[in-house]
């Protein structure tokens, strides 16, 4: 589902949040007076930053169906996905990784990635037949190629429990990549990843961006993110504090003040 010609081929809003909000037992995690609104253009590389507790992961939850917004709507390609389930949204082409990396512990690294793809053999009808085997080979090859791309090829037969935190994150990314997503929501992809691997990740994200995949990345590592993103959204206390190109954001006194309270500027 990647677009030919890269990011500049088609303009237009791909993913949009309109006045979304979420309240947990009295605490307004996302929203504020008017709800949270922002849009992500097709092919853009958007960074989502903000101090701890700003509501970044919750925003991701609201956009990927893990939670449902109390108000407003989330639109993907013009379709309302506010109340859609996570699997429906995944099938539509929105991929997502989590703040704490998730994996399937009973499967090997390779199987994790293979499981990430939607194989025809996963439906009941096909499962009882035999023809899923031929599709399997293709899926396994695709999975191996992706493992090579994220640098986990050596660990293909390893068990999830043996992976380091950084490797788990790359595995999650790999699991989403095998689905060939249109949009990729990445939640703190560099957390716990050592600098060498971060290089690789940065390269990977740039390649994806060039291929036309729309990226929205939550990061605390501003050094990493501001060098890659072309647009940045700043969240604080669940509301949009500022947005703009990285250079502007870097210099914005309001943003700096919000972070100083947190002491987390990279």
């Amino acid at each position: 589902m990647t677009l030919p010609g890269g990011a500049n081929a088609l303009n237009g809003v791909l993913l949009e949040a309109r006045h979304i909000s979420k309240r947990f037992s009295g605490l307004q995690a996302v929203g504020g007076a008017n709800g949270l609104s922002f849009s992500v253009d097709r092919g853009a590389f958007v960074g989502l930053i903000g101090p701890n507790g700003a509501g970044k992961s919750t925003t991701f939850d609201l956009m990927s169906g893990v939670q449902t917004s109390d108000t407003g709507s989330v639109l993907f390609n013009g379709h309302d996905i506010t109340r859609s389930s996570t699997d429906t949204i995944a099938e539509k082409g929105i991929g997502r990784t989590f703040q704490t990396p998730r994996a399937f512990e009973s499967l090997t690294v390779l199987q994790n990635v293979v499981a990430g793809a939607t194989s025809p053999g996963e439906s009941l009808r096909w499962a009882f037949g035999r023809s899923w085997r031929s599709h399997e080979t293709a899926t396994v090859e695709a999975a191996e190629a992706i493992l090579r791309r994220v640098g986990l090829h050596e660990r293909a037969a390893a068990r999830v429990g043996d992976l380091s935190g950084g490797e788990l994150r790359m595995l999650e990314v790999a699991r989403q990549l095998v689905r060939d997503p249109t949009v990729l929501l990445l939640d703190e992809p560099t957390a716990g990843v050592h600098p060498g691997l971060q290089e690789r990740l940065a390269q990977l994200l740039q390649d994806l961006h060039r291929d036309g995949v729309t990226l929205v990345v939550v990061e605390h590592n501003l050094h990493f993110l501001l060098a890659l993103a072309d647009h940045v959204l700043v969240l604080a206390d669940g509301e949009l504090l500022a947005q703009g190109p990285p250079a502007d954001i870097r210099a914005d006194p309001v943003v700096i003040a919000a972070y100083l309270g947190d002491g987390d500027v990279a």
């Binding site: 990927s64 169906g65 893990v66 389930s85 996570t86 699997d87 995944a90 099938e91 991929g95 997502r96 989590f98 998730r102 994996a103 399937f104 512990e105 009973s106 499967l107 199987q111 293979v114 499981a115 990430g116 793809a117 939607t118 194989s119 025809p120 053999g121 996963e122 439906s123 009941l124 096909w126 499962a127 009882f128 899923w132 399997e136 068990r159 999650e172 699991r175 989403q176 689905r179």
Partner: protein, 309 residues
Amino acid sequence: MNWPQLLVTVLTLGSIFGVVTLSLNLQYARGGMINFGIVAYFAVGAYTYAIFTQPPPQGLDQYKFGFGWPWWAAVIVAGLAALVFAAVTGWPTLRLRGEYLALTTFAFAEVFHSVLLNERRIGNGTVGLARVERPFGDWGPIEEKYVFAGAAALLLVATLVVFRRLLVSPYGRALDAIRDDETAAMAAGKPAQQMRRQVFLISAVPVGFAGAVYAMFTTLAQPSLFTAEVTFIVWIALVLGGERSVYGVVLGTLGLVFFEEIVRAWPFETVRSAQIAAAVEHVVTGLVFIAVLRYQPFQAAATRLRASR
């Protein structure tokens, strides 16, 4: 002590309950669902078989339904009935998790038990339906009870084959993913709730068949045969066998049934000593169950096996 008879009974009952335990295994170990009311599906199968094969009510019979169908048709209906029961009771409850699912399934089973006891028109009350048809006679030189054991074993093997087929396919892998981390699985496009429902329904069918075979074996369909105790026994068999491996499940069931039957068949001198033996068997089974749950020897063994490869 009639050993050949004992072994045949163990094989027959072990196969019948083995099917039920396998279904439970599918629901729990692969589907992540705790079904504490599985006896109800078993009872549905048994009673459906009885009702469909028995002749229409006459004279003093209190039940209202009897269709006199041939045994094989009734077995099929028994499986279908279990499926329908699972669909009806599963629809509202599968949204629940863990202990709450356990409780609701438990509650539904008790409701069903109550209905069987009270609705004489369906189940003939506490007396139950007797003279349930036993379809196999002697096959030439082979006595009926061996034929029967063979049929039960066949059902077990068939269930094993079908389940294994399902589990080694991508469907099975998706199930594992859902069980390991449902949110991540859904983020990878797996329709968790739908698949869980499917597993619940699919696994109900063999339990219905097993119920029918059980009714054939006992020639009786009576509420006292289908109490929560059956659910607990199947759970114990499941845990004993190690939950994960299907062969372990079958072995666990056979072992448990063997233990039970040997106590039951032992020629005790007084009724009281037989009672005590049965009680001791209960206590020992419960203790082993608790120990296995705590120490999980099979889990540990499996992990060690995997690590050493």
